[in-house]
């Protein structure tokens, strides 16, 4: 009887010891990895960059191949061109409307030209967190908090972590993203006293965003364009964010929400622009 209890105790101690050893090994490993996080991640990105770029190119070609199989190649191309043209036009419209309202056209154009941009290639997407990796890091002058756009001035997000040769960019669709925006409405009459509608665009994950914190007494319509308002001081003003697709207004609530279709499209984008410096409005 005593012998069997001893064996059981030894067995229990053995299991406990094994668990303890496992936990200690794991904890030490995690601590070491986090201590050298920057070096480990940077090394991994350097090793993986050529492979990732090859896979990205292969994915582009494959998607075009599938599209052509379905007889949509021409349509896809045309659609892409139209989308780019549309974004460019929307950018121009938003600029012109704002200039007209404030009558500071020259100052605004100068403001845009004052942006310092850095071209960066996309090398990966973390679809769980809506974070992309770009191939420019601290050696190229990238800093945390810098805004990332495309050629059509569509806002993609901001830099949240910088490594030597790479950076992580949190897309505006990330669940942690909140940006101040202004609702740009079509105003054929050009009412100069029309109130400015401010709100915030929050990320909902899976490359989606929604508009929030718009007072219920303000009227927002479908197809209204959302642009950055620069209130938080991170993004330059008038960058394109998205288009309102559905409005959820409830008089019981102090604020209204709206479904938004973001302008950024990660699928067909290879290169982005990091705004390294811009003229801030006083």
């Amino acid at each position: 009887m005593d012998f069997s209890i001893k064996v059981l105790l030894n067995k229990k101690n053995g299991v406990f010891l094994k668990i303890l050893i496992g936990v200690i090994i794991l904890s030490v490993l995690i601590c070491i990895l986090n201590l050298f996080q920057r070096q480990v991640k940077n090394t991994f990105y350097i090793i993986s960059e050529p492979v990732e770029k090859t896979f990205s190119m292969a994915a582009d070609n494959t998607s075009v191949f599938f599209a052509s199989l379905l007889g949509k190649k021409g349509l896809v191309q045309e659609n892409e061109e139209l989308k780019k043209e549309n974004q460019k036009l929307l950018s121009e419209i938003s600029l012109l409307q704002d200039d007209e309202r404030k009558n500071q056209m020259t100052a605004d154009i100068l403001g845009l030209k004052d942006m310092k941009l850095l071209l960066a290639g996309i090398i990966g997407l973390d679809s769980q967190q809506d974070i992309i990796s770009i191939d420019k890091g601290s050696t190229s002058g990238v800093l945390e908090g810098m805004a990332v756009i495309n050629q059509q001035e569509v806002l993609f997000g901001k830099v949240i972590k910088v490594f030597n040769s790479f950076s992580k960019v949190m897309l505006i669709s990330s669940k942690s993203s909140v940006i101040d925006v202004r609702v740009q409405q079509d105003d054929p009459e050009g009412t100069p006293t029309k109130p400015v509608i401010n709100g915030v665009v929050k990320g909902s994950g899976f490359l989606g965003v929604y508009l929030d914190l718009v007072p219920t007494d303000q009227e927002i319509k479908e197809q209204d364009i959302l642009i950055t308002s620069a209130l938080e001081g991170i993004f330059p003003k008038d960058l394109l964010v998205g288009k309102v697709t559905k409005n959820y207004k409830n008089d019981q609530k102090p604020f209204q929400q709206a479904q938004v279709k973001p302008f950024f499209n990660i699928k067909n984008t290879d290169n982005l622009l990091v705004i390294t410096d811009y003229k801030k409005e006083k």
Partner: protein, 169 residues
């Protein structure tokens, strides 16, 4: 044995790179498959007499690759995968009584439960480091993501089963 382990580690790496580059163009409404989680799940699911050290080893390999390509700190995915692996082994020990040791009828519900578990708790970890992060919110893209992952997992399940049968592993 060593060769098999090395090939599996390389496969994990290849899937990690594929996941962050190739599948970007094949996302459906922002949803993309978590190939590393799927491979890890299949390895543990099909292990006959896998020890806890083995689960720990694969959790470190898969979790390291998930963390290295993500924004989060090292350890989040390692710990979550370790918990997933241990729980899955416990469940499999209590279930494995049928003629077909690895039926799809077990695989589908178990994958669904553990995938949602992993998704919710990784959100919780992110919330711990960044309180503005939304832990879990039900949405159609989330449902689509679960279905997309399940489809890829079922496909991988049969591929792995054929592979095991062919090479008599």
């Amino acid at each position: 044995m060593w060769l098999k382990t090395l090939i599996t580690i390389f496969l994990f790496y290849l899937l990690a790179v594929l996941q962050s580059s190739f599948f970007v163009s094949f996302n459906i409404m922002g949803a993309a498959p978590n190939l590393i989680f799927i491979l890890f799940f299949i390895i543990i699911f099909f292990k006959k007499n896998g020890s806890y050290y083995e689960i720990m080893f694969w959790s470190i390999v898969a979790g390291f690759l998930l963390d290295v390509f993500s924004y989060s700190y090292f350890g989040v995915s390692i710990v979550l995968l370790l918990i997933t692996g241990i729980l899955l082994k416990k469940v499999m020990q209590s279930l494995r009584e049928k003629k077909d040791k690895y039926p799809i009828a077990y695989f589908i519900p178990l994958f669904l439960v553990f995938y949602v578990f992993y998704d919710v708790f990784s959100g919780l970890f992110l919330f711990f480091f960044d309180p503005s992060h939304i832990i879990f919110s039900f949405s159609w893209p989330l449902l689509l993501s679960i279905l997309y992952n399940l489809t890829v997992a079922i496909f991988s399940f049969y591929v792995y089963k054929c592979f095991v049968k062919f090479y008599k592993l």
